[in-house]
Point group: C2
Chain length 195, copies 2
């Protein structure tokens, strides 16, 4: 069947992307994102420049594609929160996939955030990704069980603010070397709106 062939192909593609990104990451950290060319990445990975470029639409994607699943995951968590829970606490719980992703291997998460933080191009692209998650979270807020109908704008604002809380918390977490608990930081950021 053609759909199953396509499916296995995508799985293989994903695995290759992960492998290529894994070999590329140390180079970025050592020499700086801007100082590494596709040619070197290809050489280190043992494929041609053409092939490397076919797996990643841009150099930024090599670093940031691993964030892609977070948007859908956060949306799913949000939709699964109980009906009686208020929007703001529900959004707080929806950030769990992000913290889980970075806490899986904290030292690597730290290296990743550090690299992004000192590379403007990566900051910009990650923010772009986050901005793409916001409408989905807002829609999930509208569709959650027990949601009251109303205008869209406040939900967009809440979703955007929640993601911004995540951003500032991660920034602070990375700047302190990861020795504070990430979830406590996010709680602090969130509580700025409730007390």
């Amino acid at each position: 069947m053609s759909t199953s062939r396509a499916k296995t192909r995508d799985i293989g593609r994903g695995a290759v992307r992960e492998e290529l990104a894994r070999t590329a990451f140390p180079l970025f950290c050592d020499r700086g994102f801007d100082e590494v060319t596709f040619e070197e990445l290809a050489a280190v990975s043992g494929v041609s420049r053409s092939t490397f470029l076919r797996y990643f639409g841009s150099k930024e994607e090599v670093v940031l594609f691993s964030f892609d699943p977070l948007g859908p995951q956060m949306t799913e968590v949000l939709l699964g929160r109980p009906a009686h829970e208020k929007d703001w606490p529900a959004l707080r719980h929806a950030l769990a996939p992000a913290t889980a992703f970075l806490n899986r291997d904290p030292s690597e998460g730290l290296a990743l955030l550090g690299l992004i933080g000192r590379t403007p191009a990566l900051c910009a692209r990650l923010r772009e990704k986050q901005a793409g998650w916001r409408p989905d979270l807002a829609r999930a807020l509208a569709e959650r069980p027990g949601a009251r109908p109303g205008p869209d704008l406040p939900r967009q604002a809440l979703a955007g603010a929640a993601l911004e809380c995540l951003t500032v918390s991660l920034e602070h977490w990375a700047s302190t070397g990861g020795d504070t608990d990430m979830d406590e930081l996010i709680d602090d950021a969130f509580s700025a709106f409730t007390d």
Copy 2:
């Protein structure tokens, strides 16, 4: 004196930038940001490609440099708010320079936001700029008259949320063709956190 010479030089530089950007803007709107090259911009403006590039570090700057004053302006407004005013309302007032900038000529503001909205590279860069304003706003929150000392994170979160309210409001304003009042939209976004 060398400082006054330098000052007049910077004024001249700013005027040239404004002029170059003015002639470039219609081209971007007509043909799309990515389809216009520096060579064409230079040709239309009557300067060489080299000169054009010396005035703008990147093509995105040609469109976005006009947002640069907003950060300092918003910070200044925030610092001038009365001591008894709570942080959130004060931040609401601090967004005034942004609305003023776009409402000065609404149809041009609409064209500007439209161009940005349909150009991912411009979205990303503008978000980068906004992200740069956030720490300044947070610092202003800490330094405003009557500020209570405390951890930095909540202030960063508040400042980031305020800017996000601005973003979603402008997005909504642009998507509805500018026929709703911008300040009412921002009020709606802000009130999502107070009711």
